[in-house]
């Protein structure tokens, strides 16, 4: 009986430690090769390969072949959002940790969530965008206001809807437990932050570290 989407199938794909590590590594937004992912997950290459084909068949990954390299990446922002949601629950449920390490702290402040910014900074930014009525909250959705459209356009950020991906989307933040901005606009803002060198990505981590002047610039543009 019980028809409907096969949720157990999807969840069990994420439910294996090796696969979970791979997906977690891919949350950084860059596509990785099978060997990199094997290393990341701590399994042998054949094992990793087997997992990867399962994830592919499950529709969670995309594959881009380039010469003899094969780059695996998350299939969609929706998949990334799902993983964030699972991380959020795992985080909430986790037995009280001794103390969050320094890397954890940086992750809480700002990190990459697939292709957009997450963490305290990102949550604060979304709040501020609502306050300034650049974005409007509608039911469970987020919409760009006319004022917002011209504002972002002036910053050199395009806000036209392309393909089927929404411009604005709320994404629940596991560290802050409130929403931050995803969608093409969220991605474009992160692009700008990196392009302007306001912040750089920490090596081998999802953490995003702002420079002192970069932080000022970011706050001036998005938190003022």
């Amino acid at each position: 009986m019980r028809e409907g989407p096969d949720i157990a199938r999807i969840a069990s794909l994420v439910g294996d430690p090796a696969r979970a590590n791979m997906l977690n590594a891919l949350m950084g937004g860059t596509a990785l090769t099978a060997s990199e992912l094997a290393l990341e997950a701590g399994v042998s290459l054949p094992t990793a390969s087997s997992h990867l084909s399962k994830l592919m068949e499950g529709g969670l990954l995309t594959l881009a072949s380039q010469g003899r390299h094969r780059y695996y990446g998350l299939a969609s922002a929706q998949v990334a959002g799902m993983i964030e949601a699972i991380i959020g629950v795992a985080e909430a449920v986790r037995p009280k940790r001794v103390r969050p390490g320094p890397r954890d702290a940086a992750m809480r402040v700002a990190r990459v969530c697939y292709d957009h910014l997450a963490g305290e900074q990102a949550v604060a930014m979304l709040d501020r965008l609502f306050d300034r009525k650049l974005l409007l909250r509608e039911d469970n959705q987020i919409r760009l206001s006319p004022a917002g459209a011209s504002h972002f356009s002036a910053l050199g950020i395009e806000t036209h809807a392309k393909a089927r991906r929404p411009v604005c989307r709320a994404c629940l933040d596991w560290s802050v437990r409130r929403s931050h901005l995803a969608g093409t606009l969220g991605a474009a803002i992160l692009d700008k932050i990196i392009a302007e060198k306001w912040a750089r990505r920490e090596k081998d981590s999802r953490a995003v570290v702002f420079s002192p002047t970069g932080r000022q610039a970011f706050e001036r543009v998005f938190l003022s």
Copy 2:
């Protein structure tokens, strides 16, 4: 190897078909007993009990003992949100059938979500109840207005809060991606729809099919 929150542990809890069915059943927001959940999942009572203790230990469920009954419910809205996210991916990834069968289409229009109505009809109804100020949106909750109380009372629908179950509750709709009405009021409305023979439940399915005259009556009362 990165040691973040144990996402595999959480995902694997959802990754078993029996447990997934239980969680899915609990998405309605009502707490259920172990035997009801066993039936829902199609497993024996001992098996269900074993799954339930695992879900409890994983922090996904809460337990309320009342006499010899033990009511299991989702631990938090965060857990519900995670399950919704997984459903969303499963839905998006589901192998496109040649064409959505008639039953699938019917499911999208109207279906039972444990004990209340879901689908396009249900989402439209909730919108309309807000428009008419019979229900009020408060924070993330839904409250019955005085006007609403007398309105439903006139229809022969009792709206007194009984036990611990809320009268109104929002439930996210996987097909429409917006909220519909759950809670005792949602259940009572579905009861009325069936009692008035405006619609009947499709055998062995969650689909709810309105008769032509039944649809008119429903629209007059709830969508006008």
